[in-house]
Amino acid sequence: MGAAGATRAETDVGDAEMKPPTTSTQSTSKPAADVDGRPAKTIEARGVDLFYGDFHAVEDVTMTVEPNKVTALIGSSGCGKTTFLRSLNRMHELTASARVEGEITLDGQDIYGSKVDPVQVRRLIGMVFQSPNPFPTMSIYDNVAAGLNLNAGRVKKSEKDAIVERSLRGAHLWNEVKDRLDKPGSSLSGGQQQRLCIARAIAVEPEVLLMDEPCSALDPVATLAIEDLIGELKNKFTIAIVTHNMQQASRASDITAFFNLEETGKPGRLVEVGPTEKIFTSPSQQATEDYVSGRFG
């Protein structure tokens, strides 16, 4: 991926005053060792404000989602972490009257640029949703191949077979479904459906995977399976995950960002972001400590 690196370098030169924090520059410039030899991409948010009409939902978030790491977004309900996550692949604007201010870049390219096609952004930044949502009209196979089928361009059957198998293996679902690929996706259990949705998301080979409370509808066993999967997927992708589950954040993530809502009606803010270990053991903000230790401020 030399091309991507070149683009980033150019952009960095272009707006030098907006130089990202040194930590992220280091980690991006040194391609993280990954199985494919494919460095994942960095998302940076600078001064992001999110609105629903007149309602100011999230205020002034500046943070970096680092490549080949799992970044967990935690915080109480309504503090804007899901809204922020959805702004990272331009899903936020699908809600009527939703607005974004500030800058969000993918390896230096502004994803909200006037010449940027949101469809292209979403191809590069995939998403897994809170409740499993396989397409009800499609079989397991077609669900995984949906991204390929839906995005025009004929793909050869053999190639498609290979991608479906690889994605299902990647999502640890292959062995459970290989004999019934033609059955509807809705015939699977909740945990399997969520893994199917992950397979569907990784089948289009995105650079970044956003997960919005992917385990909230699942039992502990299925949750553990998904967490293990997340740990493996970070070798290939950049992952951001919203979770309400402290243990999950501490188990599965490398970096944790804590969002808080000072009071109802006010916008949610990013209080603190840092290595998960630090956030959970010695956070620098009192509010973070209260939240992670269960004493809600």
Partner: protein, 343 residues
């Protein structure tokens, strides 16, 4: 306070028993009063049954159960009341229509028969006119519904919704006159074409298609659209590949019902397609008969053999009802076969 869980319970047969006893009692009362009729008997039975059920249940089961039984009885009675006109209509049309039905009725036109012949020309006309109307209305209606659910929301969307609501209330004769005026302006007065009837029916059908399709498309959960967008799928492909297939069964059902609604229209066709005796299957040339107008004209201007004309009118009505029933059955079958479980 009484804390026992057990209360008295009426026996299982009580509901039927009460109704039967009430019917007997009501019959006796009416006969005694010398004012017996079936309608009065039914009304009196419901009243007596309501009183008996309530008092009996209240004494044994308590006031809550008694109210429950009373309301259940009222609802069942209302259901029966709604069913009576429907059943009696179907029964009456079948009784009077079957004598007029014959192979000749379905295969011959009225051309060259003095006071006889069949309704094949009307059957062909009905199918062609309705078919063309569906060809016009379904694409327009479906696309308008897609606009309203997927794109609309602004002033244009609200305006469209308002006018669709207004259009559903247009008297059908107005639709007929509109189509007549439109074609008369282009081709001169006195024009009668099958396609004019189709245009008139489309004016009535489009709002129905829009309304039903819109409701069905609205049910498609948003998380499916989002899942598709998150895969980097453009909006139009999301609509074609995800939204429409998910709503497929409902859309087809809605369209069948829209067809069934307009297939029996009479007034707009009377002024647009005219009355004719011979088979004409070309909607762009000359007058075209249809079943509803056929039934109307056979009854209004019977020939020499009046009873035969009346029989044919009833048979035409029966044929229409059968067509509508078949359409509805097919719609249901399609719905069962293709519906998608949506959470």
């Amino acid at each position: 306070m009484n804390t026992t869980l057990e209360t008295g319970v009426l026996p299982d047969w009580s509901a039927y028993g009460v109704v039967a006893a009430s019917a007997a009692l009501a019959a006796a009362l009416l006969l005694a009063a010398g004012a017996f009729s079936v309608a009065l008997l039914l009304v009196a039975t419901v009243f007596v049954a309501a009183i008996v059920t309530y008092t009996w249940s209240r004494r044994i089961e308590g006031p809550r159960r008694a109210k429950d039984r009373l309301v259940t009885l009222t609802i069942v009675a209302a259901f029966g009341l709604a069913l009576i006109p429907l059943l009696s209509l179907v029964f009456e049309v079948a009784k009077r229509g079957i004598p007029g039905l014959s192979l000749e009725f379905l295969t011959e036109s009225a051309r060259g028969h003095i006071g006889g012949g069949g309704a094949a020309h009307a059957l062909v006309g009905t199918l062609v006119i309705t078919g063309v109307a569906a060809l016009i209305s379904i694409p327009i209606g479906l696309m308008a519904a897609i606009y309203l659910t997927e794109y609309g929301g602004g002033r244009l969307g609200r305006g469209l919704t308002f006018f669709v609501d207004v259009m559903t209330g247009i008297p059908s004769i107005v639709a007929g006159l509109f189509a007549y005026a439109l074609f008369a302006l282009i081709f001169g007065p006195g024009i009668r074409l099958g396609v004019m009837g189709s245009v008139a029916l489309s004016v009535l059908m489009i709002p129905i298609v829009i309304r039903t399709s819109e409701e069905v498309l609205k049910i498609v959960p948003n998380h499916l659209r989002e899942a598709s967008y998150a895969l980097g799928t453009p909006k139009w492909r999301t609509i074609v590949k995800v939204v429409l297939p998910t709503a497929f069964a409902g859309l087809i059902t809605g369209m069948m019902i829209a067809v069934a609604r307009i297939i029996g229209e009479t007034a707009p066709l009377l002024v647009t397609t005219g009355v004719v005796d011979s088979i004409n299957s070309n909607p762009f040339s000359g007058r075209m008969q249809n079943l509803a107008v056929y039934a109307y004209s056979e009854y209004r201007t019977p020939g020499v053999f009046k009873q035969a004309s009346y029989d044919r009118a009833w048979a035409a009505a029966l044929t229409l009802i059968v067509i509508v029933m078949v359409l509805n059955l097919v719609a249901r079958l399609i719905y069962r076969r293709y519906r998608t479980e949506i959470r």
